[in-house]
């Protein structure tokens, strides 16, 4: 068990974004998280990642309690994360972006550079290594986002809606890429809206609604789960079906 969240609660003002959420992720697996908009998926990532501190509850990673630690510390411990909307360092080149993330693993600038090139090759961005980020397409920025997260050599990777905004062929390429990551002893948690992607990538799926987990199961069971259908499509639809 690589990650465990226990009874997490997080509110903003009057809104409870995460309402007693408990999740467990097994090492080496891919967990998908789905749910309607506002169900707390990104907030959950922010809690795991250290961007937010939960009001109560705990997050344990590889046996260590990481609740409330700073994001950079959590990155050091081995959790990587991508942003929903790519947030690259705009005034640098693609390579330099990835280099920054390798600083916690490499002992010198030279080694950082080497590691960064390797990662760029992995995500097939090596031809754009010396290009300024400003001149790079959205799809490439998403790859860069992934590359940068990989730079910290994480054992757990949080992917936040990587597919958003990509064309169908780009989505295919992205799925291939993520699949190839699995062979590298990486545990993945994937948040997505596109059902096909989730179904094809994940070992297990958790469904969130209003900050609570309403279902967690293997993909085949999830699609037939009444609660899930109701959450996504509403009461009347599920009543009819």
């Amino acid at each position: 068990m690589i990650l465990q969240s226990n009874d997490l609660v997080k509110s903003f003002g009057g809104v409870t974004a995460i309402n007693h959420l408990s999740l467990t992720v097994e090492k080496g697996t891919v967990l998908g998280i789905i749910g309607p908009n506002g169900s707390g998926k990104t907030t959950f990532f922010n809690l795991v990642n250290g961007v937010y501190t939960p009001d109560s509850g705990r997050v344990t990673f590889e046996g260590k309690n990481i609740t409330g630690l700073h994001p950079h510390r959590i990155a050091e411990l081995g959790i990587g994360r991508t942003f929903q909307i790519p947030a690259p360092f705009t005034k640098m080149t693609v390579l330099e972006n990835v280099m920054v993330s390798t600083f916690i693993r490499a002992s010198s600038l030279k080694e950082s550079r080497k590691m960064a090139w390797e990662i760029l090759e992995l995500v097939r961005l090596d031809d754009k290594g010396n290009t300024q980020v400003a001149n790079v397409t959205l799809e490439d920025r998403k790859r860069l986002e992934l590359a940068r997260a990989l730079g910290t050599k994480p054992s757990l990777l949080l992917l936040d809606e990587v597919m958003a905004g990509l064309t169908p062929s780009e989505v295919k390429a992205a799925i291939e890429l993520i699949r190839s990551l699995r062979t590298r002893e990486l545990t993945l948690i994937v948040v997505e809206h596109i059902m096909d992607v989730i179904l094809s990538l994940c070992d297990r799926i958790a469904v969130l609604d209003y900050g609570q987990k309403i279902a967690e199961d293997i993909p085949d069971q999830i699609v037939n789960n009444k609660e899930v259908i109701r959450a996504y499509l509403g009461e009347r639809y599920s009543a009819r079906h």
């Binding site: 942003f83 360092f89 005034k91 640098m92 330099e96 920054v100 993330s101 600038l109 940068r148």
Partner: protein, 331 residues
Amino acid sequence: MELQASKAQAVPVPSVWRFTPLGLLLVICLILPWLASPLWIRIATEVLMWAGLAQSWNIIGGYTGYLCFGHGAFFGLGSYVTGLMMVKLGWPFGIGLLFSGILASLLAVIIGYPTLRLRGAYFAIATWAFGEMVRQIATILDVTGGAFGLQLPSFLNLRYFYYVMLAVTGLTYLTTHFLLERARFGYKLLAIREHEEAAEMVGVDTVSIKMKAFALSAFFPGVLGGIYAYWVTYIHPDSVLGAQLTDFMVVMAFLGGIGSLWGPFLGAVVVQLLQRILWLFWGEGTFYLVIIGVAICAVVLFIPNGLIGLMESRFLSPREAVSQLRKTFKW
């Protein structure tokens, strides 16, 4: 900003000729006091001081993206501390300078701890308030001579001050070059500037790095302030702690090019030159402020990367310039 694509490749064998302009500059700087008249030595000393100050500001403002509008306070602190240490405690000049620098860094840490948490605009206002507060305090306290300032004995000659200023400013640039342009520290600062949250997420300890940058950026003004105090022998809250000090630092860095190594130097030279030329033609006055104001606005609008940026990208053709102007005013 100035991390060009070429840096990403393996460092090529430096051709000796690349260092020629730098070498020439160095030679000129070194022999200037023996060739120039006292007036020019004074002007050069002042330019050097500003070059150092602008670069110090650049460290926290340009590279890290945290615009400190109270940076002059570190300069003033250095002036007063060095002056007082030497007058009241009889410390030697060098020790006084070092102490000033360290004290300034300490102050930066104290102030930085709460303020670096604030976002862009708030940080600017908070540091601006801090700067003004320091000035007010100096005006009130008796030990600093209050509103009457501090008179210091003069003891060294012009040339000596020139070399000391050169040495310290040179140190500023060397430090910036080695710690910021060629090292991980610099990359981290840029990452913080570009997207602090993402930097945090890839393992950059933003809190600690920002503090280090701020402390570093305060050290040099502290020392330069100390040199200045003895160079002009009379310091006063308005002269060493006034907002115009920070104003100039900011202008020079922006005009030359924030986030670059030579930008602040270029900015300092241009602004000082401009000031003197205007003084020559219009008499000692304040008109140069108008020009400076226009210059900053122009820089922000048209060349946000400063003069250095201008030299690196292609120039706008007249047609492009006109269409840009049209776009600005079109409704």
